[in-house]
Structures are given as C-alpha cells and as structure tokens.
C-alpha cells in the first residue's frame, strides 16, 4: 500500500510542482503573448473539446498513422535488403546519409511538386522524415546479427523466409524498435510541419492559423494538446514495445542480475 503510494507520489510530484509554478507565475500576466495558465486551460476546453476535434485532430492523427505505418513498412523492408547485402549498402550509404540531412521543411516544396497539395503530400512528408531512423536502425540491426545464431541456423538448414523472420528480424528487433521510437517523435513534428504549408484543415494548420490570427491563448492550448498527444503516443508505444520485446527485456534483466 505504502509502496504504491510512494510510487504515485514520485510520478506526480514534480509535474504537479511545475504546473503550480506556471499557474502562479502567470496568474497576473498582462503580456499578450504569455497569458495566464487559467486562460489557456479555458481556451483548451473551448477549442478542442467539440467538433474541432473530429474535423481537425482526427484527420491529422489518421495521416500520422498512415505515414508512420508506411515508413515502418518501407524502412524495415529497405533496411533489411540493404543490411543483408554488403555491396548494396556500400553503394547506397552516402546517398542515404545525404538525403537524411535535408531538413523536412525544405523537402515540402519538392513534395508539393510531385504529389500536389492534398493529403497524399502530407503523408509523404511524414514518411520521408520517419523513414530515416527506422531505415538506418534496421540496417544496423540486421548487420549485427549474432554470429553464433547465424551458424546455428545454417547447421539446422533454416533458410529463406524462416531465416529472415526468426533470425534476422528477431535479432534486429531491438534496434528496429529504437528506430521506430525516434520516428514517432519525428512523425509528430512532421505532421505539424506538413500542415504549415499547404493545408486547409488539421491540427498543425489550426495552431498556425491561431498564431497568424493573434488568437494566442488558443495557440498555446494547441501547443499543450501537441504535448499531450506526444505523451499519449509515447505511452502507447511503450505498451506495444513491452509486448513485442518482452523476451529481450527479460534476457537483459537476467544478464544484469546474474
């Protein structure tokens, strides 16, 4: 009982303290651009809880989901192919490093040229950014397959799809999950960026319009929502990771305890 209480206290104390500081520090603020926290929270309730949630937030989340899934599939597929083949990797590595370094807002005009200004473009922007951590981590993971395991597979004549699934992908999965984790944060950022440029609806679009229309408490409430979204997605990801990588965490915990 006290253990649970202590744990709860640890989780809640610091955030609560920070929120309290923010509340009291901004309580009497007359600065147009830094309104009191109370006003921001009121704006939050008025803006986001209602039809705007369905009209703007859900489509953005849907695009994020599609883009992220696309990046996962493409990243793992390409990464496995590149990781398994040394010549391919040597040939493509400089090109990939180069493409990775181009900042997403710069890619948006190019993608607009190719894909127009609709949802396709936005999904492509998300894919183009989320792809890199997943791809590069998959390549690293596939490269780092344990030699002993590979030999065991060879002596048991496990080849082809079975080898790919049970040996390669499974060994690489901790790395792939790391990449997927980084890609998640990038995906949220790109979801906002893709809607800053050529959009007529969406979460990022709405926040930018608030900023342009000088509706500042609403803008801050949007920023809060983005943070909350990030946290929720990250918690969901943790849950999925625990299931998928349960075997890995157990293995490492056992090795550490000895």
């Amino acid at each position: 009982m006290t253990v649970a209480l202590r744990r709860l206290a640890l989780v809640v104390t610091l955030p609560a303290a920070l929120l309290a500081v923010w509340w009291f520090a901004s309580m009497n603020s007359t600065d147009f651009y830094r309104p009191p926290l109370s006003r921001i929270l009121v704006a939050f309730r008025e803006t986001w809880i209602g039809p705007r949630f369905v009209d703007d937030v859900l489509p953005s989340m849907a695009r994020l989901a599609i883009g992220y899934a696309g990046a996962l599939v493409l990243g793992v597929a390409l990464g496995t192919a590149i990781g398994l083949s040394r010549p391919l990797r040597a040939a493509l590595e400089p090109v990939l490093e180069f493409l990775r370094a181009v900042p997403p807002p710069v890619l948006v005009p190019i993608l607009i040229l190719i894909a127009g200004i609709g949802s396709t473009m936005k999904v492509l922007v998300i894919v183009s950014g989320c792809l890199w951590p997943i791809l590069l981590n998959t390549v690293e993971g596939v490269r780092g397959v344990d030699g002993v395991l590979a030999d065991t597979c060879r002596s048991y004549r496990i080849r082809g799809a079975g080898r790919l699934w049970h040996l390669v992908l499974r060994s690489a999965s901790p790395q792939i999950v790391t990449g997927a984790r980084q890609a998640l944060s990038i995906g949220i950022i790109l979801m906002v960026i893709s809607e800053m440029f050529a959009a007529s609806s969406g979460l990022g679009f709405t926040i930018v319009q608030f900023q342009r229309g000088f509706a500042i408490p609403e803008m801050w409430s949007g920023v809060l929502l983005l943070g909350l979204l990030g946290v929720l997605l990250s918690l969901a990801f943790r849950g999925v990771e625990h299931r998928v990588l349960g075997w890995y965490h157990g293995l490492r915990a056992a090795a550490r305890e000895r």
């Binding site: 104390t13 370094a101 790391t178 800053m196």
Partner: protein, 253 residues
Amino acid sequence: MRFLGVAGLLGFGALLELAPRVGLVPERYAPPISRIAVALAEQAQQQRFWLALSDTLRTWIIGLGIAVAAGVVLGVVIGATPLLRAATASTIEFLRPIPSVALIPLAVLLYGASRSGTLVLVVYASFWQVLVQVLHGVADVDPVARETAHAYRLGRWARVRYLVWPTALPYAVTGVRLAASVALILAITGELVIGSPGLGREIAIAQSSGAVPVMYALVLVTGLVGVAANVVTRAAERRVLAWHPSVRGEVPV
C-alpha cells in the same frame, strides 16, 4: 567498397539530372542538377553565402555544445541518484515528446528572429537525445563492478569518475552523434521558419524570390553539411571510444 559508394552517388546524380529532363518533374521548378551546380558555383562566389554558412555552423555548434554539456551533467547527476531518477521520470517522459516545432512561437516571442530563437529549438531537441542516452548509460553499470567499488569504499566522486563515466561514455557518445544530426536539422529549420541568420534563411529568401536553382543549390549545401557533420562526429566517436571493446549498438529506449 568505397568505389561503390561513389558509384551510388553518381547514379543518384544521374537520376537527378534526368528526371527533370525526361519530364518526371516539371523542369522549371525542379531543375536538372547541372543547372543547380551552376547556381551553386555562383553562390560560392558571394560573401553572403559564406556568412550564412558560418552562421548556421555556429548555431549548430553552440546549440550542440550547450545541449551536450547540460545533457551529460544532468544525466549523470540524475542517473546516479535513484530518488531523483524516479522523481523526474514522469516529467522527462512528458517533456521529451513535445515536438520542438511547438516551441517556435515561444522562441519567436522571446528572441524574435535572432540566433537565440533558433538556439532554443536546437538545444531543446538535442538535449533530450543526450539526456536519455546518458541516463541509460548510467543505469547500465555492471553490478559486479559496482559492488567492487562499494567494497573498496570509493567515495561518490570517485565512483562517478571510475565507474559511472566509463560505462556511460559510449552511450553518451551515441547520444552526441544523434544529437548532432538533430541539431543541424533543427538549426536549418529554425532559420527557415523563424528567419534567424543562416543557410535556412537564405533558402527562404531564395524561395520568396522565385530563384529556384539557387534554392536547390542551397538545399544541396545543407545535405552536404549534414554528411560532413556525420563524418566528423563518427570520426570523433571512433577516437574517443577507441578503448571500448565490443560492438556498440544504439541503445533501445
């Protein structure tokens, strides 16, 4: 193998040259790479290009430096004390996923379009990369070694120096490498969106002037800077960690 890398680059270059000429993309708005290279040569003769490049590099290095210093110090301090670690875990998990673009309005408010506005973005995004990695490094201390240190009654400071730091160093270095590429991308994004001095702002000016080949030339430069930064950080990583025996992968989070 290096020859293959060059071949890959050449193949990519050929693709970029042919796609507009063949009509895959409109040539007027996605010029072939030969025209971009000409524009780049012209840019390289202008002083404002080199000023912008040095501005971007300065923002990058300063932001990265602050983020790494803060990340390492805080990571070691928080990681070494279990109570602190437990108390800050929820806050870190909340603040970490906040997209740095959400900070753009705040950065503009505080600093306008000066370098500091972009620095806020760069430091914020890079800091988390370093912090999380260092926290993992500190947590990964070998229990046998830890007990040995305890048996030899090593003080807190000695423990940090001989036990925690060598274990955390590979993780920290990975964190720095990740942070370096994030920092560069955010530096240019900040300059593009906010208007701080640097390559990103030159790209924005080229865009608003309708000077398409110049814009792509600058984009090419950002890609090359990113590649160079990656090469430099990897080389530094190899030197700093020359003593580390095993293959270090990126740590699952």
